[in-house]
C-alpha cells in the first residue's frame, strides 16, 4: 500500500545504533548510553508513525508488506508484514526498550564503564531481532530471527548477570536452542510438504496446504515444543527462573516481557494457522498444561524468597493464561490473549524494573532482607504497590481486562477449565500482597536510613508504564480494535466458530 519500508527501517535503526556504539572512539565512550537511548527513541517515533499507516478496516491480512527474494535456492524470501497482533507486539517492544535502557542507566559501576557501550549495544541488537521476529511473514526468516535473538540475550546474561550467570546463560541457551533445532526439522519438513519453489517459505504459500494427518501432527509438535520452551510452559519452564534471577532487571524485562511472547505469538501465527487439525488434536493436552502452568506458577511464586524468581514464576502463571486463551479458540479468548501479551509485557516490566530499583538500593534480592521499606522510600513503595496490583490484574488496570476476556472466552467452550483457572486470581492476590507485605510493611529498618527515594530518572522509567496500565485499563479500545480483525481473520481461515453466540471483543472494550 505504500512504498516506504517501514518495518525494515524500524528494525535497522537500533542495529545502526549498536554499530555506532561499538565503533565509538574512546573519548566519546561516556556518551554511549545517550546514543543508545536516542536510537531507541527514534525507533519508537518511526514505529508510531508506522502504526498510523496501519488501517484496522483493511481487508488484506498483512499490512506494511515488504517482499524480496533472499535465498531463492532454499525458497526463502525477505518478507515482512504485520497484522494487528504483530503490530501491537512490535509497539510494545519498542516502547519497552527505551524504558529498559533508562532503567539500566547506572547498572554498571564506574570501574566497568568501558563495558557500558557493549551492554547497551547488545540491547539494541536485541531490539532489531525483536522487531524482525514479529514482522517476519516468511517461516525461514522468522526462524532466523527466532534463533539469532538468543545470542545477544546469552551475552547479556552471561557477561552482565549475577553470580550464577554462567549457569543461567548456558541453561537458557541450551533450552532455547534444543527447542529451536527441533523446530528447524519441522521448518524444513514444512517446506518439503508445501508447494516449494523460490518463495515456498512464505506464510501465504504455506497456509492452508493439505497435509496428511500424521505429518501434520509431527510438524505441529516440532513447532509447538519450541514455542512451549520459549513461552515457557510447565514442564519446560525451568530455565526461566534461573535466567531471570541472574540477569539484570532490564535484561529480565526484555527476556520475559518480549522474548517469551515470541512463543505465544508463534503458537497463534504458526501452530494454529498452519496446523489447525493437529492443534485441535493437541488441545486437551495443551489446555491441561496451561492450567498446570497457571496454578503451579502461582503456587511457586508464593513460596519464593528471591524477588526476581518470584516475578519469573508469576510470569509462568500469566503465560499459562495466554496459552489457555489461545487454545480455547474462541474470538473472545483470542482477543484476550493478544491483549494479555501486551499488558503482561508492561506489568512484568514494571515489576522487574521497580524490583531492580529496590535491589540496587538494598544490595540484595532476598525478600527477608527487606521489610518496612514503605517508611524508607514511600514514593517508590507506592509505585511498587501499583505495579503489583497490575500484576494481580486489579480492575481498572489493563491486565484485568485481558484476564477477564481470556476467562470469559475459555468458559464459553470449557466451563470446568474456566472455573479452575479463575481460582488463580486468589493465588495472584496472595503472591503479590504477601510480597508487598514482606518487603514494605513493618518497622523501619535502621540500616536503610538515608536511602534516597525515587529519582528523577526512575520516575521516567515508571511513569510511562503506569500511564499505560491506566490507559489500557480504562480505554483499551484502540488495541482491541487493532487485534480483533486479525483474530477474526485467523479464526475464519482455520474454520473455527465460537460455540455460543459470538460475544465479540467489543463487549470487553466497554467494560
Amino acid at each position: 500500500m505504500n512504498q516506504f519500508p517501514w518495518l525494515t527501517v524500524i528494525g535497522l535503526i537500533p542495529l545502526v545504533g549498536a554499530v555506532v556504539l561499538w565503533l565509538l572512539p574512546a573519548s566519546l565512550a561516556d556518551r554511549a548510553k545517550h546514543i543508545a537511548l536516542g536510537a531507541s527513541l527514534v525507533t519508537l517515533v518511526f514505529a508510531v508513525a508506522a502504526a498510523l499507516q496501519f488501517s484496522t478496516s483493511s481487508t488484506s491480512k498483512f499490512q506494511l508488506v515488504e517482499e524480496h527474494s533472499w535465498i531463492p535456492q532454499f525458497g526463502v524470501s525477505y518478507a515482512l508484514g504485520v497484522d494487528g497482533i504483530a503490530l501491537s507486539l512490535i509497539l510494545m517492544s519498542v516502547i519497552l526498550v527505551p524504558v529498559c535502557l533508562l532503567a539500566a542507566w547506572n547498572d554498571l559501576p564506574a570501574e566497568e564503564a568501558h563495558r557500558e557501550r557493549h551492554y547497551f549495544a547488545l540491547m539494541l541488537v536485541l531490539e532489531t531481532f525483536m522487531v524482525g521476529v514479529f514482522a517476519a511473514t516468511d517461516v525461514f526468516l522468522f526462524y532466523v530471527f527466532f534463533e539469532a535473538m538468543l545470542v545477544p540475550v546469552y551475552f547479556l546474561i552471561g557477561q552482565f548477570g549475577g553470580p550464577r550467570r554462567q549457569y543461567a546463560a548456558v541453561k537458557f541457551l541450551l533450552f532455547s536452542l534444543a527447542g529451536g533445532l527441533i523446530m528447524l526439522a519441522a521448518v524444513i519438513g514444512l517446506y518439503v510438504q508445501g508447494p516449494g519453489g523460490a518463495d515456498g517459505f512464505l506464510l501465504s504459500k504455506l497456509a492452508g496446504i493439505q497435509l496428511a494427518p500424521g505429518t501434520e501432527k509431527w510438524l505441529f509438535l516440532g513447532f509447538f515444543i519450541a514455542f512451549a520452551v520459549k513461552a515457557p510452559m510447565v514442564p519446560v519452564h525451568t530455565w526461566l527462573p534461573d535466567a531471570a534471577a541472574e540477569s539484570r532487571p532490564a535484561t529480565a524485562t526484555l527476556l520475559v516481557g518480549v522474548l517469551d511472547k515470541v512463543g505465544t505469538y508463534g503458537m497463534i501465527r504458526f501452530c494454529l494457522e498452519l496446523f489447525p487439525g493437529a492443534s485441535q488434536w493437541a488441545t486437551p493436552v495443551v489446555i491441561t498444561l496451561a492450567l498446570v502452568s497457571i496454578l503451579y506458577g502461582a503456587l511457586l511464586a508464593i513460596g519464593q524468597t528471591d524477588l526476581m524468581r518470584l516475578i519469573a514464576f508469576t510470569s509462568i502463571s500469566h503465560f499459562g493464561f495466554i496459552v489457555l486463551g489461545i487454545f480455547a479458540m474462541t474470538s473472545t479468548s483470542w482477543a484476550g490473549s493478544s491483549f494479555y501479551m501486551i499488558n503482561h509485557g508492561f506489568s512484568t516490566a514494571g515489576l522487574f524494573l521497580v524490583a531492580g530499583m529496590f535491589i540496587s538500593r538494598r544490595g540484595s534480592k532476598r525478600i527477608p532482607d527487606f521489610g518496612g521499606w514503605q517508611r524508607v522510600t514511600p514514593a517508590l513503595a507506592g509505585v511498587w504497590l501499583l505495579v503489583g496490583l497490575s500484576g494481580l490484574a486489579l480492575p481498572g488496570l489493563g491486565s484485568f481486562i485481558s484476564e477477564f476476556l481470556v476467562l470469559a472466552g475459555t468458559f464459553q467452550r470449557y466451563q470446568v477449565v474456566g472455573v479452575i483457572a479463575t481460582t488463580s486470581i486468589i493465588l495472584a492476590a496472595l503472591y503479590i500482597l504477601l510480597m508487598y507485605q514482606r518487603t514494605m510493611t513493618g518497622p523501619k529498618p535502621e540500616s536503610a536510613a538515608g536511602t534516597p527515594d525515587i529519582s528523577y530518572r526512575e520516575k521516567w522509567v515508571v511513569g510511562p508504564l503506569i500511564a499505560l496500565f491506566l490507559i489500557l485499563g480504562f480505554y483499551p479500545k484502540p488495541v482491541l480494535d487493532m487485534v480483533t480483525p486479525a483474530v477474526t481473520t485467523i479464526l475464519t481461515s482455520i474454520h473455527v466458530t465460537d460455540p455460543a453466540p459470538a460475544v465479540g471483543a467489543a463487549e470487553g472494550s466497554t467494560k
Binding site: 531463492p72 526462524y143 552471561g158 541457551l173 527441533i182 528447524l184 526439522a185 519438513g189
Partner: protein
C-alpha cells in the same frame, strides 16, 4: 613397426585449458623444489612464498578463465567435457571443488608463511631431521636454518587435492589420494614446538593412511573384477547391465573403496587418527588439512557415489547411513569431554563430516550442491579458526589447553570476538555460514525419505550437543574472570590478518547473503558421466 604402434596406441586428447590449474600448481611445486636446491638460504623464504602465492593466484585465474570460456550452455551446466579419456573429468562439481580448494590453499599459505618476526615460517621446525632436543637442532636454530621445503610440499598436496575430486577412474583417484596424502604426512611431523607429539602424529597418520590406501586399492581390484574396468561410468554401466560373472564382488568392492575415502574425511569408525593428528600437526597445517582434505575427499566421495555406484545404492547405502549416524553422534559426544582446543576442533570436524555425509546420502542433485556449499563454508571458517588458535600463546608456545583461554575476551576483545563468532558458525546459529550450510545439506536429505528424515533429526540433536561445546568456550573466554595474564595474543603480521579476516568475512557473508554462491553450487552440481 611405426604404423603398427600407431594403430594400437591412440594418444589421449588433452584439454590443456581444463587441466591448466592443476598443471600450474604442479609446476610451482617443482619450481619450489629447485629453489630449495639452488637458491641461497637467506633468500629462500622470500622465493618460496612468492612462488607459492603467485602459483595459487595464477591457478585461480586459469580456473576462472577455463570456467568462463568452456561453459556449456545447455541445461545450465557449467563445465568442460571430460579430458584425458575420462581419467580426469573437469565438470561442474570438479570445478567448484577445485576453486574452493584453491581459495583454501591461498588462505592456508598465508597462515603457513607467518613468521612473527623470525627468520622462517614460525610453525615449522628449523630442521626436521634433527632429534628433538638434540645439539643439531640447537645448532640449526642458531644458524637460522628453516624448513622452507614446506612450501613445495604444501603445493604438491594442493595439486593432489585438486586432482582427487576430478578423477574419473579409480586408479587416477588412488594416485591423487597418494599425491595429496604423502606431503601431508611429512608436514604433520615438522612442528617447531612439541616436536615429539608432532612426529607421533605424523607416524600415526602415515600408518593408518597407508592402511586405508590398501583398503582403497583392494576395493578397486574387486570392482575391476566385477566390471572389468576401473572407469566409473563403466562400473555404473556394469551395475545396470547385471551381466557380470562376479556379481558378488560389487558390494565388498564399493564398501572397501568407501572405507579408503571415508578415512580421509574422518568418519567414524575410521576417525581414530583425527584428534591426534590435528593436535600434533603444526597449527596452519591442521587448518589446511581440516578444510582442504575434507573438501577433496568429499569431492571424490561425491563422484564415486553419484557417478560410479549410484545404481547400486540400495546395497551400500544402509552401511553409510549407519556410518553417518555414528559419525555425528561420536563426534558430538566426544567433543564434550575435550580439554585441548585442537582436539576439540578435531572432534567437531568429525561431527561436521557426519552432517556432510547426511547430504551426500540424499542422492539428489540438491545434495551435491548442498555438500559443496557446506565444504566451502566449513573450510573457510575452519582455516580462520585455526589461524586464531595459532596466535594465542603462553611463553612462546601455543596455548591450546582450554583453561588457558579463560578470560581472553576481556584482554583481547577483538580476537576473542572473532573466535566466538566462528564458534557460533560451527554451532550453526542463523546469520552465519554454518546455519546456511546445515540447511543446504539437511533439506535434500529430508526430501529423500525416511532414512534421511531420521538422519536429519539425529543431526539436529547432535547439533544441540555441539552447541554446548562451543558455548562452553565462549563462557570461558567471556564470562569467566581470570587473574592470569601470561596467555596473550601475539601480534600477527598482515598474512595471518588477511587469512582470519577473509575467513570471517566469508562466514558472515555466506550466512547473510548466500544466494549467489548457492546458485553457483547449484549450477555446478551436474556430474558428467
Amino acid at each position: 613397426m611405426t604404423t603398427a604402434l600407431s594403430a594400437a596406441f591412440t594418444p589421449a586428447t588433452l584439454d590443456y585449458v581444463a587441466l591448466l590449474p592443476v598443471l600450474i600448481i604442479f609446476s610451482a611445486a617443482m619450481l619450489g623444489v629447485l629453489v630449495e636446491a639452488f637458491v641461497p638460504r637467506t633468500s629462500r623464504y622470500l622465493a618460496q612464498v612468492t612462488i607459492t602465492l603467485v602459483g595459487i593466484v595464477a591457478a585461480m585465474a586459469a580456473l576462472a578463465f577455463g570456467a568462463v570460456t568452456h561453459r556449456v550452455s545447455t541445461a545450465g551446466i557449467a563445465g568442460f567435457n571430460g579430458t584425458v579419456k575420462g581419467s580426469v573429468v573437469i565438470d561442474g562439481p570438479a570445478l567448484f571443488i577445485q576453486a574452493t580448494i584453491l581459495l583454501f590453499a591461498l588462505l592456508a599459505a598465508l597462515s603457513l608463511a607467518e613468521r612473527f618476526g623470525g627468520v622462517g615460517a614460525d610453525a615449522f621446525t628449523p630442521m626436521g631431521a634433527a632429534t628433538p632436543g638434540s645439539p643439531q637442532e640447537a645448532q640449526a636454530r642458531k644458524v637460522g636454518a628453516m624448513t622452507a621445503e614446506v612450501f613445495p610440499l604444501f603445493l604438491f598436496s594442493v595439486a593432489g587435492m585438486m586432482l582427487f575430486p576430478a578423477a574419473g577412474d579409480l586408479l587416477t583417484m588412488f594416485v591423487a589420494l597418494e599425491v595429496l596424502s604423502l606431503p601431508l604426512y611429512l608436514l604433520c611431523g615438522l612442528a617447531r614446538r612439541r616436536r615429539l607429539l608432532s612426529q607421533e602424529a605424523s607416524l600415526k597418520y602415515f600408518l593408518l593412511g597407508a592402511f586405508s590406501s590398501a583398503f582403497f586399492l583392494f576395493g578397486t581390484a574387486l570392482l575391476y573384477g566385477f566390471a572389468g574396468s576401473v572407469y566409473l561410468p563403466d562400473i555404473s554401466a556394469a551395475i545396470t547391465a547385471q551381466g557380470s560373472a562376479f556379481q558378488g564382488l560389487l558390494v565388498p568392492g564399493v564398501l572397501l573403496v568407501l572405507v579408503g575415502l571415508l578415512f580421509k574425511v574422518g568418519a567414524v569408525p575410521f576417525h581414530m587418527w583425527t584428534p591426534d593428528v590435528y593436535q600434533g600437526a603444526p597449527t596452519p597445517i591442521t587448518g589446511f588439512m581440516a578444510a582442504g582434505t575434507k573438501a577433496a575427499a568429499f569431492g571424490a566421495i561425491l563422484r564415486f557415489v553419484y557417478v560410479g555406484v549410484d545404481r547400486a545404492q540400495w546395497d551400500w547405502r544402509p552401511a553409510v547411513v549407519v556410518v553417518a549416524a555414528l559419525t555425528m553422534i561420536i563426534g558430538a559426544v566426544l567433543s564434550v569431554t575435550q580439554t585441548d582446543m585442537k582436539r576439540l576442533l578435531a572432534y567437531s570436524s568429525i561431527a561436521h563430516a557426519g552432517f556432510i555425509l547426511v547430504g551426500v546420502l540424499s542422492m539428489e542433485r540438491d545434495g551435491v550442491s548442498g555438500v559443496m556449499f557446506y565444504i566451502a563454508a566449513y573450510g573457510l571458517t575452519t582455516i580462520a579458526a585455526f589461524a586464531i588458535v595459532g596466535l594465542v600463546r603462553e611463553g612462546g608456545s601455543e596455548a591450546t589447553h582450554l583453561s588457558q583461554w579463560t578470560g581472553l575476551g576481556k584482554r583481547h576483545p577483538w580476537t576473542a570476538g572473532v573466535f566466538a563468532f566462528l564458534l557460533l558458525a560451527f554451532a550453526g546459529i542463523p546469520l552465519t555460514s554454518g546455519f546456511t550450510a546445515k540447511f543446504a545439506v539437511f533439506k535434500p536429505a529430508l526430501e529423500s525419505g525416511t532414512a534421511g528424515t531420521i538422519l536429519v533429526v539425529l543431526g539436529l540433536l547432535c547439533s544441540a550437543i555441539t552447541v554446548f561445546v562451543y558455548v562452553r568456550i565462549i563462557v570461558l573466554m567471556y564470562f569467566t574472570d581470570s587473574t592470569d595474564d601470561s596467555v596473550a595474543v601475539i601480534e600477527p603480521s598482515v598474512f595471518t590478518t588477511v587469512t582470519v579476516a577473509t575467513g570471517t568475512l566469508f562466514t558472515l557473508v555466506l550466512g547473510i547473503a548466500p544466494a549467489s554462491v548457492l546458485q553457483l553450487a547449484e549450477r555446478a552440481s551436474q556430474f558428467i558421466r
